[in-house]
């Protein structure tokens, strides 16, 4: 088959699946819906593998499928750019999507929206593929918003739950704030490069490296800095960076499979992908990179802290995702784009694994999501236990596992970075290692080890802890839980098989990938790094002597001991002396309250932005439209007319068409008078 047709097949196969499952969701049986969508995604995955091999053989592609729009001198096309970055993303997206599709058969089996759900996740796969395969900013934006739409539909999948339909609207709007910046960035590119085609833009970028634009008054700004910051604001929305991160924890309202697929593995990494893709632009602005690294560092560390106090199993993983996205962003800021993509890939596997594992636990617990009600599950759910352990170990950076290679590369690259903000970022990512290990194993111990706390009649436990109303709301509708005496059970094979298949890459992909992806020339010609201005990655690579050596060397570096300390401390706190966390909580109640309220971002947004907008709307409506324009001007004129009309009352018949007809006649009379005078 011609490669172009194969490229087209990759996004189209899931789209066809989505259309079959979606348009006929009310008439087809369930097996048709899942077979059609799984077949579509499987075809996309197989085609991606073939394309991947083809690209490794050196056959890249950049071409248009059709012309979307022309206007003036501008031409917008829908097209594909197939290179190593694209194929990496294609493989990650289609593989995780395939796993999630299979998993969904088990997870959603009791849900009346089964077919609709399959339609949505296949539609998501299509949108995400269009996003990563794009060869221009227009289509990137298309995919960008389309994944946002599907995310919206899926967060609100259980559309009768008030929290879900609030969360999905919040997610869409916060993402739109990011897109607001993103579209301005795209506009700047079009205005100054005259095209949105990646290749042309990147080729011309050096010419415009020192271009200045007037933004505010007479002050001149670097075009590249403004453009890159605008683009990055888009990434901050999609990849949930502070302060646009607020939507991601709430997105846990959606069914767990999509938390794994969309809100951990793929969609939220679109921002990381976009910055890596536009590396030729970001390399031209150290200011923008500083901005990126600082935002990333704040996200990596401070979102990690929030993971420590969460009690909803999905929210722990959600905050962990936020923190890991911060790590990726830090890597971008350090100009280690390939490391960011590498971490994106490893993270996609182990985080999807952790989410699906959490989902498996949720099934086993009959939809109780509170980790305080769990404990000792390893006996009842052995496959879930082992795979979750692998995922957790990969996440905290255990040497030789996937997350170790990507995360340590980030830490090392940041260490060598010299841009403003990098020393703060280095501190943040190091401290983050400890925090990550602590919250990950806090969850792990509370869920799989220790005392069995489930199946108790109305546990008093619940009411001791106050201030966790968010968690309560989150699991309110589906809060069945285990009945007294009931035991959790291992989940069916459709659920555990994806866990096992994801555990494998979570263990080994780092060891395999680091050589070519970070140290090798896998991304040569795709990701551009200015080694003179931003030498962090090249300096790190001078110290790199292969994956095995890196793993061995890790035992003598701080991150390893920080992670170990985190694990041991969580073991001590939650297995040995559960009274200590409670005591700390009492002792430092101010900090605890701050964390409970998630640094007050939500409250601030609700008060200032949501409340402010409504107030402004009311003032403009009641004050501007109703009082001034209508009340004073229009009705004032009407009164004047009414006064005149009282003189001409004779002509009033009360029929609208008489007035209208009279007006026409009047117009003609007036016209005649004018013409004759002329």
């Amino acid at each position: 088959m011609e490669m172009q047709k194969l490229y087209l097949l990759v996004p189209m196969a899931p789209l066809v699946g989505a259309m079959i499952a979606g348009l006929f969701c009310r008439v087809i049986p369930r097996w048709v819906a899942h077979t059609a969508t799984i077949a579509g995604v499987a075809i996309a995955f197989i085609a991606s593998v073939i394309i991947f091999k083809d690209v490794l053989a050196g056959n890249t592609y950049n071409g248009a499928v059709y012309t979307w729009l022309t206007s003036g001198d501008y031409k917008f096309e829908v097209g594909f750019l197939i290179d190593t970055l694209t194929t990496t993303m294609m493989l990650v997206v289609t593989f995780v999507s395939l796993m999630v599709h299979i998993y969904t058969i088990g997870y959603m089996q009791e849900d009346p929206g089964y077919n609709r759900f399959f339609s949505y996740i296949s539609l998501f796969t299509f949108s995400m593929l269009m996003l990563v395969m794009s060869n221009n900013f227009m289509q990137l934006f298309f995919g960008w918003e389309a994944v946002g739409l599907v995310s919206y539909l899926l967060i609100g999948f259980w559309y009768t739950r008030p929290t879900a339909i609030f969360a999905n609207m919040k997610a869409f709007l916060v993402n739109r704030v990011g897109d607001f910046g993103f579209i301005l960035g795209i506009g700047l590119i079009l205005a100054h490069f005259g095209t949105l085609d990646y290749k042309t833009v990147f080729e011309r970028a050096p010419e415009l490296a020192s271009a200045m634009i007037n933004i505010w008054g007479a002050a001149e700004w670097s075009l590249m800095t403004v453009t890159c910051i605008c683009l990055f604001i888009g990434a901050m929305g999609k990849s949930a960076q502070v302060p646009l991160h607020v939507w991601l924890p709430d997105s846990m309202e959606g069914p767990t499979p999509i938390s794994a697929l969309i809100h951990a593995a793929t969609m939220v990494t679109a921002g990381i992908f976009m910055v890596a893709r536009t590396s030729p632009l970001f390399e031209l602005s150290t200011t923008a990179l500083s901005f990126v690294i600082i935002i990333g560092a704040i996200t990596a560390l401070f979102m990690g802290f929030l993971g420590i106090i969460q009690n909803d199993i999905k929210r722990v993983v959600a905050y962990s995702t936020l923190s890991q996205l911060g790590y990726m962003t830090v890597a971008l800021g350090a100009s280690a784009y390939s490391v960011a993509i590498f971490h994106l890939m490893t993270h996609a596997f182990f985080k999807a694994l952790l989410f699906l594992g959490a989902g498996s636990v949720i099934i086993g617990m009959h939809h109780d999501q509170d980790i305080r009600n769990m404990g000792g599950l390893r006996k009842y759910m052995p496959i879930t236990w082992i795979t979750s352990l692998i995922g957790s170990l990969a996440l905290i950076g255990t040497p030789f596992l996937a997350g170790f290679y990507s995360k340590d590369s980030i830490i090392e690259a940041v260490k060598f970075s010299n841009i403003p903000g990098s020393s703060f970022a280095y501190f943040a990512v190091l401290a983050g290692v400890f925090v990550t290990a602590f919250y990950s194993f806090r969850m792990y111990f509370l869920v799989f080890h220790g005392e069995e706390r489930f199946g108790k009649a109305d546990d008093a436990h619940h009411h001791e802890h106050h201030g966790d109303h968010d968690d309560e709301e989150a699991s309110h509708d589906h809060h069945h839980g285990l009945a007294p005496g009931q035991k959790p059970h291992e989940t069916p094979w459709v659920v555990t098989l994806p866990l096992v298949l994801l555990a494998i890459p979570s263990a080994v992909i780092g060891f395999i990938g680091i050589g070519p992806m970070v140290a090798g020339d896998y991304f040569k010609g795709v990701i551009h790094v200015d080694n003179v201005a931003h030498p962090a990655l090249s300096q790190f690579l001078e110290h790199f002597h292969g994956a095995a050596a890196m793993g061995v060397h890790a035992f003598s570096t701080p991150p390893f001991y920080l992670a170990l300390a985190g694990v041991l401390l969580s073991w001590f706190f939650y297995m040995k002396r559960p009274d200590i966390p409670a005591a700390i909580q009492r002792r430092f109640s101010a900090i605890h309250t701050l964390l409970e309220n998630k640094y007050y971002f939500d409250k601030f947004n609700e008060l200032v932005f949501a409340g402010g907008s409504r107030l402004l709307g009311k003032v403009l409506w009641k004050g501007g439209d109703v009082a001034i324009i209508d009340g004073f001007i229009v009705n004032g004129s009407a009164k004047l007319v009414g006064w005149i009309a009282s003189i001409t009352r004779l002509f009033q018949t009360g029929y609208v068409y008489h007035y209208a007809f009279t007006m026409i006649i009047g117009v003609f009379v007036l016209m005649t008078l004018w013409i004759n005078r002329a």
């Binding site: 579209i183 609208v656 117009v667 004018w674």
Partner: protein, 494 residues
């Protein structure tokens, strides 16, 4: 090129059909009246297809021209023609007329013949506006088209229809008179010609240009409507029956915007440049101010009416940046708004027919009872919020991108609609459609029937088609828009 007088047919077929429908008499012949109306509307639509198919995209001038003398004494001619700017609106108008006739099929049971006749005649008159190349002919159509709209609101409207109709009347009368005076002035200046194309070439000093521009602007701004002469629109929409709202939003609002392109820009290029800042400022106020006002509306129709004003702000903004992207984006936005706002008003009508309320607070959980409707309504809500792959995105995207080149902060203000537009659209959708069944009215809802499904389905296809492949729509505009831009760039001051 066709030798048939296609434009005359596009004008007079619906008017003739409307008159025939009137002869069917009282409501006992309602089925016949409906059938004739549908046939007339479909015939009128079919007539417009050769306009698009046979349109020469390389030719920026007038096509399908018809010219004959009407009132020789004043040199007034029956002069018709379409270019890349007006052609799509003739097609859109004919298309929307079918939708409107179908929309009132079961709903209107009172004075059926008159109702349908009003829409058919209105459709013909509006085609007259889009095709007139003679100032007087334009004016006659422009004013005459108000009569059916008055009737539609005044006879089949809601309880407060008299106030709404009067407000509408007052606003447009004010604008029309100034417009007429401007036409007279041009007639005199041009040495006795009412030809719009002649006026395009007429040299005028800057002073008179400014006055003429303001006169035109007031007339057109009321129609668009632009802030601050917009307050008639929410009232008119609220009182109008569903069909009236659809025509008002989909076509009637386009008349004012079209006037800017046909009169203000080419006849008064210097004044247009001189006063572009004013128009852009008013457009941005429409986008931002009206967006916030839409956010807090409690009546669905008012909300969509306000969102129409905000969307039309993009149109006037696009025109006055004097770039191909801006003008074409604005034109695309006009066509798209025809589909999307028409569909939004129809969706509200569907719910109103069942519950007899437009208050958001009276709904909640509609999706539980009307899943098919909810899915289609979602599509149009998203299109209203400018989601890519829907037509609503294309125009906004083009105008925003064009604006970045023009001025970053203008683009900034315009792009804020990405957030505000999504906020008011999705918040309404959430409160109306999502959630548990809110009350017994919602509990009793039945999902859309075949007729309603067909109407929304056709509009959905149009919305998606234009979003996924807008090239056929913009292709026809290029030559005319480029001609216009070249023309506007040349000063007329001598």
């Amino acid at each position: 090129m066709s030798t048939y007088p296609l434009l005359s047919l596009a004008i007079w077929i619906p008017i003739f059909a409307g008159l025939v429908v009137l002869t069917t008499g009282g409501d006992r012949n309602a089925p016949l009246a409906r059938m004739i109306s549908l046939v007339g509307a479909v015939a009128a639509f079919l007539i417009t297809i050769p306009l698009w198919v046979g349109f020469d995209v390389a030719n920026g001038g007038m096509q399908f021209v018809e010219l004959s003398s009407w009132i020789p004494r004043f040199n007034i001619n029956y002069h018709l023609g379409v270019d890349g700017i007006s052609m799509l609106f003739v097609v859109l108008n004919a298309f929307i007329t079918i939708i409107v006739v179908a929309a009132g099929w079961e709903v209107i049971q009172n004075k059926v013949a008159q109702y349908n006749a009003a829409f058919l005649i209105m459709s013909g008159l509006m085609n007259g506006i889009f095709t007139s190349l003679d100032g007087v002919l334009f004016y006659v159509f422009f004013e005459a088209s108000l009569i059916p709209l008055y009737l539609i609101i005044g006879v089949w409207g809601g309880p407060n229809r008299v106030y709404a109709a009067f407000k509408f009347f007052l606003y447009t009368l004010f604008g029309s008179l100034l417009f007429l005076i401007a036409l007279m002035y041009l007639f005199i200046q041009s040495g006795g010609s009412f030809s719009i194309l002649e006026w395009h070439k007429l040299p005028i000093a800057l002073g008179p240009q400014i006055w003429l521009f303001l006169a035109f602007m007031i007339a057109f701004a009321v129609k668009v409507p632009m802030w601050p002469v917009h307050t008639w629109l929410p009232d008119a929409h609220v009182e109008a029956p569903t069909g009236g709202s659809i025509v008002l939003a989909a076509i009637a609002l386009k008349l004012g915007a079209y006037g800017f392109l046909r009169f203000s820009l080419p006849i008064l290029p210097d004044a247009s440049h001189e006063l572009s800042g004013l128009v852009i400022a008013l457009s941005l106020i429409a986008v931002v101010y009206i967006g916030f006002v839409a956010l807090v509306q409690e009546d669905m129709k008012k909300l969509v009416a306000y969102s129409s004003i905000a969307h039309m702000g993009f149109v006037t903004l696009g025109f006055f940046m004097f770039s191909a992207m801006g003008i074409e984006g604005a034109l695309v936005q006009m066509v798209s708004h025809g589909f999307v706002s028409g569909a939004m008003f129809f969706c509200i009508g569907v719910m109103y027919d069942r519950v007899h309320s437009r208050q958001i607070a009276d709904y909640g959980g509609v999706v539980n009872k009307m899943p098919k409707f909810a899915a289609l309504f979602m599509l149009f809500t998203m299109a209203n919020a400018g989601l890519p792959a829907t037509s609503g995105f294309v125009g906004e995207f083009m105008v925003i991108l064009g604006a970045v080149k023009f001025n970053f902060w203008v683009a900034f203000a315009a792009a804020s609609s990405m957030v505000i537009g999504a906020a008011y659209s999705l918040w309404m959708y959430k409160r109306v459609v999502f959630g548990d069944v809110a009350n017994h009215h919602v509990e009793e809802l039945s999902d859309i029937n075949m007729r309603e499904f067909a109407i929304l389905g056709v509009l959905a296809i149009a919305t998606l088609w234009m979003g996924l492949y807008p090239q056929p729509f913009t292709e026809v505009m290029h030559a005319s828009v480029n001609d216009l831009l070249r023309h506007v760039a040349i000063s007329k001051i001598q």
